[in-house]
């Protein structure tokens, strides 16, 4: 696991995501989820490209059911983009998240 992607718990959501000074991407992941495994290296690669400008977090869905429910997340992986405490842009889900598409969406955040 790289230092570029930090794992948080649901109790840190407000502090780490909503009150974050920088734009933040949050990845809801699950175990037994091949698309999550497939996303991980792409997520890290994009995190490296935007190091210092955008924060990349991940959260384990099975341990964060209530938060997932509150955010209406029902699929893994789901990427949600936040800026200034608000969700912005379209969510990305499923097994077809391309590195180039993720990069483009992160670019729009900064």
């Amino acid at each position: 696991m790289s230092d570029l992607v930090k794992e948080i718990g649901a109790d840190q959501f407000e502090q780490e995501v909503l009150r974050a000074a920088q734009p933040t991407v949050l990845d809801f992941f699950s175990t037994e989820c091949p698309p999550c495994e497939a996303l991980a290296p792409k997520y890290e690669a994009v995190a490296e490209q935007f190091a210092g400008k955008v924060r990349f977090l991940k959260i384990f869905r099975q341990a964060s059911r209530d938060l997932a429910g509150k955010l209406g997340v029902s699929s893994s992986p789901t990427l949600i983009f936040f800026k200034d405490g608000r969700e912005v842009g379209a969510r990305m889900t499923g097994d077809d998240i391309k590195r180039s598409a993720l990069k483009a969406q992160v670019e729009a955040l900064v």
């Binding site: 999550c36 699929s75 969510r91």
Partner: protein
């Protein structure tokens, strides 16, 4: 500087990995490129019961890993989570640019990009994807613990994944357009015996409705044309697959449905481009038929590369 291979395989599903096994064993220098992790559709299939050699059911993800390990044991290089951002497959030397930063060359290519789940194309589908609509039971089943969900479709995937979803959901209602299921009789029988599974035949979905999250599945009873609004906690869609052919479109004319026509040796009209697996025009798409295509494509590519000339 770019690396040159005898064979590039695009797509690490059963067809591509079998091609890699055969080609690598023939001492070809082989690279396999995949946008995700190896396994193709098999890796998200919860169990496989009809692949020979496994007297007990095998988990799709385990079978996928075994295919990849076998290819790597013979020296094939499998590149995971790479995107082909540019390519030129027209000439004798095929080139691929990976993630805009690395170039790979190969004397021949086997395109085994398979297919992805078909979407229904209904109102609300894009809005509620990931907010109640899913295309992968192994990935998302656990989100619906104790819930009442619907499955759209009536083929093998729909019925078998419904059975899997009963581990989590309180009820699973299969909505299917025809009078009977197209799935294998053994699975249909198992589904009919399962107390959590209900069926709604001769019904077709028309729209997805909700407020933030999916709440209602709007269906039409095809015989009476009556529309019904079904309360739902989630919908899994298994209505067939759509071939992934973007990489071939500049070079080949696609057949009906977007599939690729090949000769008996998996060759295409473009010298050095071979095609294997679900992306081909064929009658049956199974793991076993994908594996057969991969074998044939690798043997054909081996002959082609033997006589290969740069220009």
């Amino acid at each position: 500087m770019s690396d040159r291979y005898d064979l590039a395989v695009v797509g690490a599903g059963p067809a591509g990995l079998t091609a890699a096994i055969y080609a690598a064993r023939a001492r070809m220098k082989v690279i396999v490129l995949d946008e995700g992790i190896p396994g193709g559709q098999v890796k998200t299939t919860h169990k496989v019961s009809n692949y020979p050699g496994f007297p007990e059911d095998v988990k799709g993800s385990d079978l996928a890993k075994a295919f990849a390990l076998q290819a790597e044991r013979f020296g094939a290089s499998i590149r995971r989570a790479v995107e082909i951002t540019r390519h030129d497959l027209a000439g004798p030397l095929k080139t691929f640019v990976l993630d805009d930063e690395e170039t790979v060359e190969a004397k021949a290519v086997i395109v085994a990009t398979g297919a992805k789940p078909r979407e229904l194309g209904l109102p609300g589908e894009a809005e509620f994807k990931g907010r109640g609509i899913s295309y992968c039971a192994t990935c998302d089943g656990a989100y619906f613990d104790g819930k009442d969900i619907h499955v759209i479709g009536g083929g093998n995937s729909a019925v078998e994944e419904s059975l899997f979803l009963t581990q989590f959901a309180r009820t699973v209602t299969i909505v299917h357009q025809f009078d009977e299921f197209q799935a294998e009789p053994a699975s249909v029988h198992e589904a009919r015996e399962n107390p959590k599974i209900r069926t709604l035949l001769s019904h077709e979905p028309r729209a997805f409705v909700g407020n933030g999250s999916l709440q209602v599945l709007d269906v039409e009873e095809l015989k009476t044309k009556e529309r019904k609004r079904l309360a739902t906690d989630g919908v899994f869609v298994f209505v067939g697959m759509q071939p992934r052919t973007a990489i071939l479109e500049p070079y080949l004319k696609l057949a009906r449905g977007g599939y690729v026509e090949t000769g008996e040796g998996m060759e295409t009209p473009v010298p050095g481009i071979f095609v294997a697996g679900d992306v081909r025009v064929k009658r049956f798409r199974q793991i076993t038929t994908a594996v057969a295509d991969g074998t044939i494509a690798a043997l054909s590519a081996q002959r082609y590369v033997k006589d290969w000339k740069a220009a």
